[in-house]
């Protein structure tokens, strides 16, 4: 009976399952955070208005081309192939023997970065022009405008897309078993290889993946609500009494 098998597989192998789930979470958390930072930087650079001076304009153009190549390349090739190319290629070309876990974090990060760059760019574009103009009108430069006015709004708006990316990362780290990272899929494969109970073992993995992704969903919802702030505001002092008479002495 399958159910009894599941219980016995869990009780025999729970440390391996947990370690696998832990590695999966570790790779996807670091990958999502580093990828988001890459995406924010790339997205901000790609929305810098065209500068006046020729020299600056050329530098920006070159940087933008490099970013486009990066984004298009990593969005346009499967992560499982990138993993093979980067892991084995780095050994062949540069004689670097990458630790599989480091390679995994690296691959997920730059992949997420490529997707997040586009998400951030879309987020910046969606902010109304008036927000930029109002910030410039009080003397803010591009970086100040981004940091204090635009990006906080962009981050709020792209939070659902970022959560989506995080969930994709949790699931997609499973392809990294091809470079022998001991994440959840890899561990489950080893467990099933020992007991020949493929359905039951992978069913356990399935539940673990879902628990992780759903927890992430709930946490992100909480943050979204938190960022939206209270629905009502409190008035300070006495109810509305508009006084305009003290303009002159002030």
């Amino acid at each position: 009976m399958s159910f009894e098998w599941i219980v016995s597989i869990v009780s025999d192998n729970w440390p391996m399952f947990l370690r696998g789930a832990g590695i999966t979470l570790l790779i996807s958390i670091i990958g999502t955070i580093v990828g988001s930072v890459i995406g924010l930087l790339a997205g901000v650079i790609r929305t810098i208005p065209v500068p006046e001076r020729a020299a600056k304009r050329i530098i920006l153009k070159v940087v933008n081309i490099i970013l486009s190549v990066y984004i298009e390349f990593f969005r346009g090739t499967p992560m499982i192939v990138q993993a093979m190319v980067i892991y084995y290629g780095s050994m062949l070309a540069f004689n670097i023997d990458m630790n599989a876990l480091v390679a995994a974090v690296f691959i997920v990060s730059i992949n997420t970065g490529a997707y997040m760059a586009e998400i951030v760019r879309g987020g910046v574009i969606s902010i109304e022009k008036g927000q930029f103009e109002a910030a410039q009108a009080i003397g803010m430069n591009h970086i100040q405008t981004m940091l204090h006015v635009v990006l906080p709004q962009v981050i709020r708006n792209i939070l659902p897309a970022t959560g989506n990316q995080f969930i994709i990362n949790i699931k997609d780290t499973s392809v990294l078993n091809v470079i022998s990272v001991s994440e959840l899929f890899f561990q489950t494969k080893s467990i099933a290889g020992n007991n020949f109970r493929y359905f039951e073992s992978f069913f356990v993995a399935c539940v673990l993946y879902f628990v992780m992704t759903y927890t992430v969903t709930l946490i992100l919802r909480y943050f979204e609500r938190k960022l939206d702030g209270p629905e009502n505001y409190s008035m300070i002092g006495q109810p509305a009494q508009v006084t305009l008479t003290n303009t002159k002495e002030s």
Binding site: A134, A137, M140, Q144, H148, L244, N246
Partner: protein, 244 residues
């Protein structure tokens, strides 16, 4: 009186379309100037050129004796000297009322938080919004938003306030509260440049009225002259259309 802003031969084109043609125009300290004219006459563009939200195609903008279109001039420092009030309010959506008036002071003028909040509260009181410091922009009515936007600009303690059709996006019953605030400011001796469609208001508060038509200043003079004895035929026509 000293000229705060002196514009010489200013022109602006969007592609092949010439929106401003050879504008000469100045604002003196303490003066309240209204710019009137039909839509597309270039009055908003002129205002936006003054604080460089639009880059002029030619001419000079002299601010306190310095040409701010010089390459080496610090645009950001110059903009802090001009308070801008937009038609669409443009309050920062990620800041509450107080924070809208404080963020520029802290980040651009490098004032301390305490000082910035004190100054912000002073001007929020001036516009009658000091009880709403905790509110977010989306919780306010149009008139309230615009009054906060005025307080935000005043909090930078600019030399000149620029108003770009500040009541055009408001429901009729909210126009009054914003105009009342602006009238108080005008009487307090602030230098103001107002692009407006509110003719009665322009007549009442302005020291000088500028009528723009097809990218040029067609006529300027005292409110009495412009509204009662306009010299130019096109000024008469415009006023006939708007004041019926």
């Amino acid at each position: 009186m000293d000229k705060v802003i002196d514009i010489q031969h200013l022109s602006k084109s969007f592609g092949a379309r010439e929106v401003l043609k050879d504008i000469d125009f100045s604002v003196k300290k303490g003066e309240v100037v209204s710019i009137i004219g039909s839509s597309g006459s270039g009055k908003s563009t002129l205002l936006r050129c003054i604080n460089l939200l639009e880059k002029p195609s030619g001419g000079q903008i002299i601010y306190n004796g310095e040409n701010i279109l010089d390459d080496k001039h610090d645009i950001h420092a110059y903009r802090t000297k001009l308070g801008m009030v937009f038609q669409q309010f443009n309050l920062f959506n990620n800041h509450n009322v107080l924070s809208n008036c404080v963020v520029g002071q802290i980040k651009v003028l490098k004032r301390s938080k305490e000082e910035a909040e004190k100054i912000a509260m002073k001007y929020l009181k001036v516009v009658g919004m000091d009880q709403y410091v905790n509110a977010n922009a989306k919780q306010l009515s149009g008139g309230q938003k615009q009054r906060v936007a005025i307080a935000r600009a005043l909090s930078m303690e600019p030399d000149v306030m620029l108003f770009d059709e500040p009541t055009s996006a408001l429901d009729p019953e909210m126009v009054g509260e914003v105009l009342k605030v602006m009238k108080e400011l005008a009487e307090s001796g602030l230098t103001m440049l107002i692009v407006t469609h509110e003719m009665e208001f322009a007549k009442e508060v302005s020291d000088r009225v500028v009528f723009m038509d097809k990218g040029v200043i067609a006529e300027e003079g005292s409110p009495e002259q412009i509204f009662n004895n306009p010299i130019q035929e096109r000024t008469r026509e415009f006023l006939k259309r708007t004041l019926k």
